[in-house]
């Protein structure tokens, strides 16, 4: 309890907690879950966009998309490293992903059906992610906060690229504009879900906010996202698929409809459009890659033996 109080005091003073320092077990576990889930989201998040790389409509768009998906794998790498500082290996985390014991962001269980979805994902999904992540640059755990700094920088670049795709589509042919509107229709509510259910329903929030693992409430962030995104949609000439959406002068923000939380929980339970495909693809990649990883480590062992023998 003494240690706990001191720990809390450090956090309250705005100090960063570093890997080898003492921390409460709950703090460690929560961080592993949160950072791990974030890492998994980056990895699984390669798939919906990867789905359009081979069909990107120009060489330049193909390069931009490839670079983006590569960045996502890179983010996964930083985040797994941050997680490893908490005493869990990347392979253990993968195993938990593959067994379903750990989750990834539900948004990636939605399919990418047209090229406009590459725009919508950059604009809305990365936009929502940034909204979640910017405050986490000030999170109390050092390696996590530093990973966030790096990631946020790249994400905002991705968001601009996504918006630029939406712009081209929205200003393009009628067919392109239709794809853009359809992408917004499909990704709007799932993006709102990315902030999680209302905090009223979340039991861990208070502790996590005290620990500065969570900085803002889900509802705060969701409101902020809507406030920023609606004018962007208007600028694109697209219609947000919410008939209750209107500006509220009192709160200086938009009133908007809640997403369908039943759908959210169904997707979480595995009944989303692509849960099986996504997890299946990752499991297959892992299983198919086993001989590769074993080959590399066998070689490393042999080399170590050879070095020892040579000494």
């Amino acid at each position: 309890p003494q240690a706990l109080a001191e720990f809390q005091a450090r956090i309250d003073r705005g100090e960063r907690i570093e890997p080898k320092e003492w921390m409460p077990e709950g703090y460690r576990k929560t961080l592993i879950r949160q950072i791990g889930q974030h890492a998994h989201s980056e990895i699984v998040g390669q798939l919906p966009e990867g789905n359009w790389i081979t069909r990107a409509p120009t060489l330049e768009r193909k390069q931009i998309l490839l670079a983006k998906v590569q960045d996502e794998a890179g983010h996964g790498l930083y985040l797994y490293s941050a997680c490893e500082t908490l005493g869990v290996t990347r392979d253990e985390l993968f195993e938990k992903l593959h067994s379903g014991a750990m989750k990834y962001s539900s948004i990636f269980n939605y399919p990418t059906l047209t090229w406009a979805d590459m725009g919508a994902i950059g604009w809305l999904v990365d936009g929502a992610a940034i909204m979640n992540q910017v405050p986490l640059q000030r999170t109390s755990y050092g390696p996590y906060a530093r990973a966030m700094v790096r990631i946020c920088k790249e994400e905002s670049f991705h968001q601009r690229q996504g918006y630029s795709i939406m712009m081209k589509m929205a200003q393009g042919t009628p067919a392109q504009k239709e794809m853009a509107q359809d992408a917004l229709n499909r990704f709007w509510y799932p993006s709102l879900m990315m902030f999680g259910p209302s905090d009223a329903e979340s039991v861990h929030s208070t502790q996590n906010m005290a620990w500065k693992i969570k900085i803002n409430t889900n509802d705060e962030l969701r409101q902020r996202f809507v406030n920023e995104t609606v004018p962007q949609a208007e600028y694109l000439g697209l219609t947000v698929p919410d008939e209750h959406l209107r500006w509220n002068d009192d709160k200086q923000g938009y009133d908007f409809s809640e997403p369908d939380w039943d759908e959210f929980f169904e997707v979480l339970k595995g009944n989303g459009p692509c849960n099986e495909e996504r997890l299946g693809a990752r499991r297959k990649a892992w299983d198919d890659g086993q001989w590769f990883r074993e080959g590399l480590s066998a070689y490393a062992d042999k080399q170590a033996t050879r070095r020892t023998a040579a000494e």
Binding site: I43, Q46, L47, G50, I53, T54, R55, A56, P57, T58, L59, E60, R61, K62, Q63, L66, A67, V69, Q70, A73, G74, G76, L77, Y80, R90, W115, I165, K168, M169, G172, T173, A175, Q176, A281, K284, A285, W286, D288, G289, Q290, W291, F292, R293, E294, G295, L296, S297, A298, Y299, A300, K302
Partner: protein, 250 residues
């Protein structure tokens, strides 16, 4: 001039099609580092394609762009070697192909980077740095997997045996190659072959893999537009949006 256009298309199409195949791995690699490296390789190759096809379009002088060459030619007009259009197979086959192609690509770009044609030399010099890195990486993986477990050895040997009869096409000179060599723009392919063979032998030897005894030039014709059955499917996928929405901007 038509020879030069064809020859530049060969350079551009090799990069485009190999880049495409490599990009199919995105998100499906055997390890996170590999996912990143494969995406990076694909990205580099698409970049090279853009430069070579851009120059091809200029040389052709009919107002076409690199994108139009990439997206609006059908298989018969593609000029890549068959090696790069084969389906990926397992990751071992993907890496073995990259190695076999990079070892050629590296020698070719090394020569081209001192070509008297300054446009060619510039592009080659830019691409060479990336290809040198790719070759290092692929060679390293071939060695480690060849000399890894029994299974990884067997898979790498199977990959080599499968791909070997496609490698000769890179060195089989036709009128286009000869014209470019005679014009002093491109190197003699038989010189490249000598150096390629030396590199390949060295690495395979270190990888404890056995050079196949089979002819290495069984499968040719890609450079003249006679491809495998695989290319048509690849292009149908790659070109869909440009074909379905002609004239749209993206």
């Amino acid at each position: 001039r038509p020879a030069m256009f064809d020859w530049l298309c060969r350079l551009g199409d090799n990069a485009l099609i190999l880049g495409h195949r490599t990009s199919e791995w995105c998100g499906h690699g055997p390890a996170l580092e590999e996912d990143i490296a494969l995406a990076n390789t694909a990205l580099d190759l698409i970049g090279h394609c853009q430069m070579w096809l851009g120059l091809a379009a200029e040389v052709e002088g009919q107002g076409r762009t690199a994108d139009q060459l990439a997206y609006l030619r059908d298989a018969m007009a593609f000029r890549n070697v068959k090696l790069v259009e084969l389906p990926n197979g397992d990751i071992g086959q993907t890496i073995m192909r990259e190695f076999l192609f990079d070892a050629f690509h590296f020698e070719l770009l090394t020569e081209l980077s001192t070509s008297p044609n300054t446009r060619v030399a510039e592009i080659a010099a830019k691409a060479l740095k990336e290809v040198a890195y790719q070759l290092d990486r692929a060679s390293d993986l071939v060695v480690r997997l060849g000399d890894g477990t029994e299974e990884s050895h067997a898979r790498m040997q199977a990959a080599l045996d499968h791909l070997w009869p496609y490698t000769g096409e890179m060195f089989t000179a036709d009128a286009v190659d000869t014209a470019m060599t005679e014009a002093g723009i491109a190197p003699d392919l038989s010189d490249l072959q000598t150096r390629w063979t030396a590199t390949v032998k060295d690495i395979l030897d270190e990888a404890t893999l056995t050079l196949p005894e089979r002819r290495f030039d069984v499968h040719t014709g890609g450079k003249q537009g006679r491809h495998t059955e695989h290319l048509g499917y690849l292009l149908a996928e790659m070109q869909f949006l440009q074909r379905a929405y002609p004239g749209a901007e993206w």
